[in-house]
Structure formats: C-alpha cells, structure tokens
C-alpha cells in the first residue's frame, strides 16, 4: 500500500517528477533522431569514398564502427543508412496517416461505407505483411520507389482499425446522441465532437507506425528487393555483411543493426511516453 508513496519520494529525491522525466525522455530521443537525420544530410561523398589502404579494419577510435572491404567508414555508411530509413519511415507514416484519415471519415459516413473499410482492412491483413510489401513493390516494377510505396501503402491497417473502433465507440457516447437531438448536423458532430478525440490518437498512431515502417523497409531491402546495392541503406549493408561473416568481420553486421535497433527503440519510446502524457491512467506502474 505504501509503494506509491515511496515512488513519489524517490522521484522527488531525484529532483524530477514523472512528468518531467517523461518530457525529458521525449526531448532527448527526438534530439537524437533529429541529429541522425541532419548528420546524414551533411555527409559529403568524400568520407564514403573507397580507400583500399584501410579496408576491413576492426573498430577503432578513428573508425568506431570499423571499415568495409572497400575501406569505407562504416559509421558514416550507417548514419546515412539510418537517415534514409527515417525519411522512408516518415514518408510511409505520413501516407498511412492520410489514408487512415480518409478511411476513418469514410467509415463514419454510413453502414455500407463502414463495411467497405472493414473489408479493405481485412483484405490487406489477409496476406502476410512482408509478402504484401514484396508483391506491391514487384507490381510497381521494383526499385527504391517500389519498396517505398510498398511500405507506405501497407501500414495504414492497424491505425485504421484503431480509428474505426474509436469512431464506433464515440458514436455510442451519450453526448453524441444528445448533440444530434439538439439539432446538430452530422458534419458539425464530426468536426466538433469526434475529431478532437481522434487527432491525438492519429498523431500518436503515426509516430508508432515509424518503427514498423523502418523495420519493414530494412527487411525488404535486406532480402534484395528494391534499393540498389550502392544506396546506403541499412538493409543493404547487412545483406552485404553476410558475405563476410565467415571471415570474422563481425562489425559489418553488428553496429549497423544495433544502430537500427536503437533508432526503432527511440521511436517506440517517444510514442510510449507521449501516450502516457495523454492518457495517464497507467502511469503508476
């Protein structure tokens, strides 16, 4: 019974309460991600040029992530790959959010429209996600654009489900019925009552889509679809590293993958903590 009290004291002791801690985590991780994107933009071609004099070097102070068989600095390659991943993730999430909003509005329009949306979601979920991305990217003729569009077009399902359920739940609320009885139009109710509840959900959902999109992009690229070998994508780097594993060049796979993991984790953390700020019900844990 006294645990909560202890917790409070402890965070007071640390000088930060839960709110400040949460904000700090959000701020710090956002900064980290921003730094990655910015640095990937400013990397010039030179640091990526081949230098056969320093190939296959294990990690050192000069090359913290080591170098590859062409003497390229793996840290630079990784950073650039991560930048690309984040940009693709952002693109996919945005497209998904737009699709979600359209489908959400559609589903609230009427029963037939709602079944159509639900049918579309079921359809998209009926094939394994990875296979669907592969299929779409092949349909679009492969290449970078195939993968990017494939990833972008397949991530709306989960968010649409959430939004649809939320709209359904909202529509049964007494205050919505009351609003209708007070003579308000459907459009008025949608914009004044329903949308304010949905916007935070969609924002949060969009952020939480990032990690999925990033991981899928990397996976499909790793399998050899889409991005061409000279693009600095994490998937490419890792699939190349496969060839050098038996030679013991572990750093080629280890650091790029770990960095990807950290980026994905960072997005998860941001989403999680924003969620806590918005809905503090479970914050006691």
């Amino acid at each position: 019974m006294s645990t909560a009290v202890v917790n409070v004291n402890r965070s007071l002791f640390r000088g930060l309460n839960l709110r400040q801690k949460t904000l700090l985590i959000i701020g710090f991780t956002s900064l980290l991600l921003l730094a990655i994107v910015v640095s990937s933009l400013f990397i010039d071609g030179e640091s990526l040029s081949t230098d056969f004099g320093s190939k296959n070097l294990a990690p050192s102070l000069e090359h913290p992530f080591g170098t590859d068989w062409m003497g390229r600095d793996m840290l630079t390659r990784t950073l650039e790959g991560l930048g690309l991943s984040i940009v693709i993730g952002a693109f996919a999430s945005l497209i998904s959010a737009v699709l979600t909003i359209i489908l959400g509005l559609l589903s609230s329009a009427g029963k037939t429209a709602d079944s159509l949306v639900s049918w579309l979601v079921d359809l998209a979920l009926s094939i394994p996600h990875l296979l669907l991305i592969i299929l779409i990217s092949i349909g679009l003729g492969g290449g970078a654009q195939g993968v990017i569009i494939g990833v972008a077009l397949t991530h709306w399902t989960s968010l649409t489900r959430v939004v649809r359920a939320e709209i359904k739940q909202l529509k049964t609320q007494e205050y919505i019925h009351i609003s209708r009885n007070l003579g308000k139009s459907k459009w008025w109710i949608a914009t004044k009552h329903i949308l304010p509840h949905l916007i935070p959900q969609i924002l949060l959902g969009t952020i939480l889509l990032f990690p999925h999109a990033i991981l899928h992009e990397a996976s499909v690229t790793f399998l050899g679809f889409g991005l061409s070998p000279h693009e600095p994508a994490i998937g490419i780097i890792l699939s190349e590293s496969m060839r050098y594993l038996s030679a013991g060049y572990w750093w080629l796979a280890f650091f790029p993958g770990l960095s990807l993991l950290i980026v994905v984790l960072a997005f998860d953390l941001i989403g999680e903590n924003l969620g806590k700020l918005m809905d503090p019900k479970n914050a006691h844990e």
């Binding site: 019974m1 909560a4 839960l18 503090p280 006691h284």
Partner: protein, 325 residues
C-alpha cells in the same frame, strides 16, 4: 465512545464493539492529464464503530468514497492509496498483515454485483472459495446447505456468473459471506437497482446475520433501505461521518437528529418534505479548513470556520457539530 449500553436501547445483545475505526484518512496520488500529480482526499478523519449483533449503516451519496472505507478495512486498496488512522478489530489493531490474515475468515465482504465473481469459474467453486486440501467435502456440504436455505437450486452450482438472474446473484453473493462464518460482515451497496421484493429479501439476510451475533456494516446510499433493518446509521458526508444516530431518531421532522446536515437530508427525502437546502458538497480536491458543512449550515458561527468540530456524545448518538448540546 465507550458507552454502548446507553446508546443501544435494547442493551441485551451484548453489544461490545467488534470494529473500531478512528480518525481514518485516505487519499490517492494520481496523475492527471499531462502527468501532473494530484492528491485526492477521499476520506478524512472518519470514526465509527460496529457492534456485535447490530447493523451499522453507513449512508452517503453514490461515488462519495464509502466503498473505499470497506476496502480500507479489508486491506484491499490500490497501491496508490495512502491510509492514516487506526482500525481495531476485536480489541486488536489491524495492520496490513492482520487484515490479510483475517479477511475471508473473520471479516467478510458482500460485494455489490456479479462483476465481483470470476467470469470463468463455476458458481459452486467460487462460493466455496479456496480451501485447504481435505476440507473440500465438508465445504461442499456446507455450500449445499446454504444454497438450500437461500432457495438456490442445485443447477446454480454449475452456472457461470453471467447466467445468474438479479435475485439469484444477490443470494449467491450473500452466501459467500455465510460460508466464511465471519463475525464482521461488510456489505458494500448490496442492493443496487433491486425491485422491492428482492430488496427486502436481501435485507432480511443481513438482519439474520446480525441476529446470530455478527456485526454488520451496511454501506449504502439508500437511507430508506438502511432504516428498515439497521440499528444505527452513520451519515457520511464529503469523506467523513458527521453523525451516528439511532434509527428511532429518524422520525417526524427529524427534530431528534443532531447534525443540521442529517436533518436536511431527512427532510429532503421525497417521502418527507422533499425540501432542499442550498449549496453543494465540497469537491474532493477542495481544501476546507473548518467544518465541512460550514458553507451550507444555517447555524454556523465563527468557531465553525476554525478546525473540524470534534465528536460529541449527544442523546445516545455522536455528532460533529459545535452547536449541539
């Protein structure tokens, strides 16, 4: 509060206190939107006592924190609760450890609805509860007897909670308490939305238990129901008890009632004057310095705004008011 014999007119039933709650305060630490921390005071400086062979009703409006009083006594509060004050059972102070040992054996709870039963467990297993090995047969027999007494057919044993009708659910919930042979029964809103027949039936079960020597604490918002069976009524207002009155004090215009709030409550009942006083019960996060009824009181004086009035014994009851003698 040692004078039971003069409070209890009947006096015969051996009415020593089984449960004593003194100066109990309960607050919650909560996170509001944006994770701002707030402390919510739900119960403050509450004192009551439940006697053997008597029914004590704790009456207050719905959602005012009465149920938490029951949870505090049983030691089943959520982890973000902060509890102060003293609870004594049978002369012994109730620590969390004691509560855990006594609940289910000496102290039993009768909850308010079937949501308090495991939705995936058959009724008989739940009524019997977790028993030590070797005792199942005995308990099974006892359960059958109790079901028979409460007119629950044998097929009820194999039902799941959602299959019970309202009246059946009530009897099942009561029988869980009877199974335990507890001496203190805490009934938490046991009569919500019941029709008159089921209501009276349920109330009679509690009367039975009291007649057998149990102390029954009946937490309810229904004064009328409380008046039907209770011996004493504790009036709960804004997180504390303002008065403990005898049932016979509730009559006419309430002139025998001690606290102006109790009187107002009595006169506001539809079967009485249906007369309202002005003002509102203070919110849980409002800090009130003096008497919590100060704002609405017609007899208030300067003293009332400074500190909560202490309990006084008046005319066979207790009251927290400066203006009664």
């Amino acid at each position: 509060m040692e004078n039971k014999t003069e409070i209890n007119a009947k006096g015969k039933k051996g009415t020593e206190a089984l449960l004593k709650v003194e100066d109990l305060s309960l607050s919650f630490i909560q996170y509001a939107s944006g994770l701002r921390q707030t402390e919510l005071k739900v119960i403050c400086n509450l004192s009551i006592q439940a006697n053997r062979g008597e029914i004590l009703a704790v009456v207050g409006s719905s959602g005012s924190g009465k149920s938490l009083l029951a949870h505090a006594i049983l030691g089943i509060l959520p982890s973000n609760a902060k509890l102060d004050g003293k609870i004594e059972y049978d002369g012994q102070e109730l620590t969390q450890k004691n509560k855990e040992d006594l609940r289910g054996k000496e102290i039993a709870l009768v909850p308010q609805s079937v949501t308090y039963l495991d939705p995936l467990m058959k009724i008989s297993n739940q009524v019997i509860g977790a028993v030590e090995e070797g005792k199942e047969g005995l308990m099974k027999k006892l359960q059958r007897e109790i079901f028979q007494k409460y007119d629950l057919k044998p097929d009820v044993e194999r039902m799941f909670p959602h299959e019970l009708s309202g009246g059946m659910a009530r009897r099942v919930l009561v029988s869980t308490a009877v199974m335990s042979s507890a001496k203190l029964i805490i009934a938490d809103e046991p009569t919500p939305g019941l029709d008159e027949k089921t209501l009276n039936e349920t109330l009679s079960y509690f009367k039975d238990m009291a007649n057998k020597g149990c102390a029954v604490m009946l937490i309810t918002h229904d004064i009328e129901a409380a008046l039907k069976i209770s011996d004493k009524i504790a009036v709960f207002y804004a997180g504390t008890v303002l008065e403990v009155a005898n049932v016979k004090d509730f009559k006419n215009d309430g002139e025998n009632l001690r606290h102006p709030y109790t009187r107002a409550l009595w006169n506001a009942l539809p079967q009485n004057k249906f007369q309202a006083i002005k003002g509102h019960q203070p919110m849980q996060d409002e800090v009130v310095d003096g008497c919590i009824f100060y704002e609405r009181c017609s007899k208030k004086n300067e003293l009332c705004s400074k500190g909560i009035p202490q309990f006084k014994k008046v005319n066979g009851g207790v009251v927290r008011c400066n203006n009664v003698s």
